[in-house]
């Protein structure tokens, strides 16, 4: 067993051994991968699963009578059950496979929005949303004559909850907010947000992309109406995501895309739709990556979300302590409740220079607006340097980042 739950510490060597990608030199320095909010690395059991699928089981799923089709279908559908348990969804039919969080939100905005939004209605998002939870709503609001309203964010990067409450009314049909901010790390009080929205019969979509690998995701406890997240930010493959929705809501929604799989009967005059979830899964899905997603969930379950979160926050606190010693540094996102994301800038140094300097020291961070341009505008900056931690990161890696930053700072000193 990799995890000593009694002492609540993880066996970092055991964990790192499962991520072969980490064991390499980048620019002659040991790789320190701190770009986990963009995408995490994948443990061997995930890549093995993809290889196994293509080597042994590959076939198109559903409707096939032969053995490989049966095996592929079983492997694919069993991930649905694993995801159902992962988020404690009441039924497996409420789990829709998509390409990722962006695809999930587009599906929802397009399908639910098209049917249930009318002129004068309102959709609420927050000022810290990723572009993927802004643009789909902008598009549908424009089409339907609905209004997109934005919950303000304070200097610490926290949502103004009182302002949110005052925005709610019978006009609000959809609230779509992020659980944990990708650029600031803020954890939002989603349970309370959902409770307040339900008082006005608005449905709530939670963007769980940054939460899935380390925060509890219990859709029944949260009572969210929809939840979107991506495989690749939780140690799983790229190109696979989830849209969870309550059965009655999913059943009330029209199809998003037309094609194979999603129909029950097609004539040239009219087609009728398959049941959920297949109604929303047109065409041959990303079978191999869906199959491998359950290995990512198995990895998370084995290590334990609480342990992952604790380890990441230890690194966050350690890095914050070291970074705070720099004189001209400014942090963006200092909320009381945070995931292991640190966004910062130096007064006199461009983030590109920091990013390139760190890369030359083998340290991978992200620089730029992190697909949250409106939020960057709010802070009156173009972007930040962002270090985001995962379960396999170490204090030594943080030290490497600090050492390289010291070299840059010295030049500009």
């Amino acid at each position: 067993m990799s995890v000593d739950t009694a002492s609540k510490s993880i066996d970092i060597k055991y964990i790192r051994d499962q991520f072969p990608v980490l064991d390499q030199l980048v620019n002659n320095k040991p790789l320190a991968y701190f770009d986990n909010a963009a995408t995490t690395q994948k443990p061997k059991q995930v890549t093995d699963s993809i290889e196994h699928y293509y080597s042994r089981d590959n076939a198109n799923i559903h409707r096939g009578i032969h053995t490989l089709a049966e095996r592929a279908t079983t492997a694919f559908e069993s991930t649905r059950e694993v995801v159902q348990k992962f988020i404690n969804a009441p039924e497996k039919e409420e789990i829709i496979f998509t390409k990722g969080t962006t695809d999930s939100i587009n599906l929802l905005a397009s399908s639910y929005g098209r049917k249930f939004l009318s002129e004068g209605d309102e959709v609420i998002i927050s000022a810290m949303e990723h572009h993927s939870n802004i643009v789909p709503w902008q598009l549908i609001c424009e089409e339907k004559g609905a209004k997109l309203r934005i919950i303000p964010v304070n200097d610490k990067g926290e949502m103004d909850f009182e302002a949110y409450k005052s925005m709610l009314s019978d006009k609000v049909k959809i609230v779509s907010v992020v659980y944990a901010s990708n650029s600031l790390g803020t954890i939002n009080p989603v349970k309370q947000i959902i409770e307040e929205a339900h008082k006005f019969n608005a449905v709530v979509m939670i963007d769980g992309a940054q939460a899935a690998s380390h925060l509890p995701l219990d859709v029944q406890e949260l009572n969210c109406d929809f939840l979107a997240f991506s495989g690749h930010k939780m140690y799983g493959p790229t190109g696979v995501g989830i849209l969870y929705g309550k059965r009655e809501l999913l059943e009330s929604m029209p199809p998003y895309q037309g094609g194979g799989e999603m129909i029950s009967e097609v004539t040239f005059e009219k087609s009728s739709w398959n049941d959920i979830p297949y109604k929303f899964e047109a065409g041959t899905p990303n079978i191999a990556d869906v199959v491998a997603l359950k290995e990512a969930i198995s990895f998370i379950d084995r290590v334990g979300k609480e342990n992952i979160m604790r380890h990441e926050m230890e690194l966050h606190d350690y890095a914050m302590e070291k970074l705070s010693k720099f004189e001209n540094i400014k942090f963006y996102g200092t909320a009381a409740e945070k995931v292991g994301v640190i966004s910062f800038l130096f007064d006199n140094i461009h983030p590109f220079d920091i990013g390139q300097m760190l890369d030359s020291a083998g340290v991978a961070v992200r620089t730029g607006h992190h697909c949250t341009q409106p939020l960057m505008d709010l802070f009156n900056i173009e972007g930040t340097v962002r270090a985001s931690f995962a379960v396999y990161n170490t204090k030594e890696e943080v030290d490497a980042m600090i050492a390289s930053l010291e070299k840059v700072v010295k030049i500009f000193g």
């Binding site: 620019n27 002659n28 320095k29 461009h350 590109f352 390139q356 020291a361 030049i411 500009f412």
Partner: protein, 141 residues
């Protein structure tokens, strides 16, 4: 100093860094800091080099038959890169600039430590410097 001599000097300096990218970046930033101040009245759209990820301003003027370049960037490493080009091209005749065989970037392994995106930007800077030389050549003739 000829264009070739300036390039050889840069190659020699970088050879001391032994391919260490971190040190190379530090060195570039230091070189960038040594560039003379860029004239504020030339910090406009007209002087921005198109095709660079970072903002780069470039001005060229003729002084006694030779082209003098001035440049600035909002990022320090890019400013260092443009400073290398200024060392090579500044104070040379338009003819020499236009006929120059630029080999130092490849010799110091520039592509390896600036990546494809900046490499394209570096190409854009060279192109703009040669275009400016061409314009000044016509003016002087």
């Amino acid at each position: 100093m000829t264009i070739q001599e300036a390039q050889e000097k840069i190659i020699e300096e970088f050879s001391l860094l032994d391919g260490d990218m971190e040190m190379s970046n530090v060195y570039l930033m230091e070189l960038g800091q040594k560039l003379p101040d860029y004239p504020e009245d030339k910090r406009d759209e007209e002087h921005i080099v198109k095709g660079c990820q970072s903002k780069v301003w470039l001005n060229a003027k003729l002084d006694d038959g030779k082209v003098v370049y001035e440049a600035d960037s909002n990022t320090a490493i890019t400013k260092g890169l443009v400073s290398l080009l200024i060392r090579v091209f500044s104070d040379q005749t338009p003819e020499d600039i236009l006929n120059a065989d630029l080999y130092f970037a490849e010799k110091i392994g520039m592509n390896r430590f600036i990546g494809t995106q900046r490499s394209n930007g570096f190409g854009a800077m060279i192109k703009q410097m040669k275009l400016d030389a061409m314009v000044l050549q016509k003016v002087s003739n």
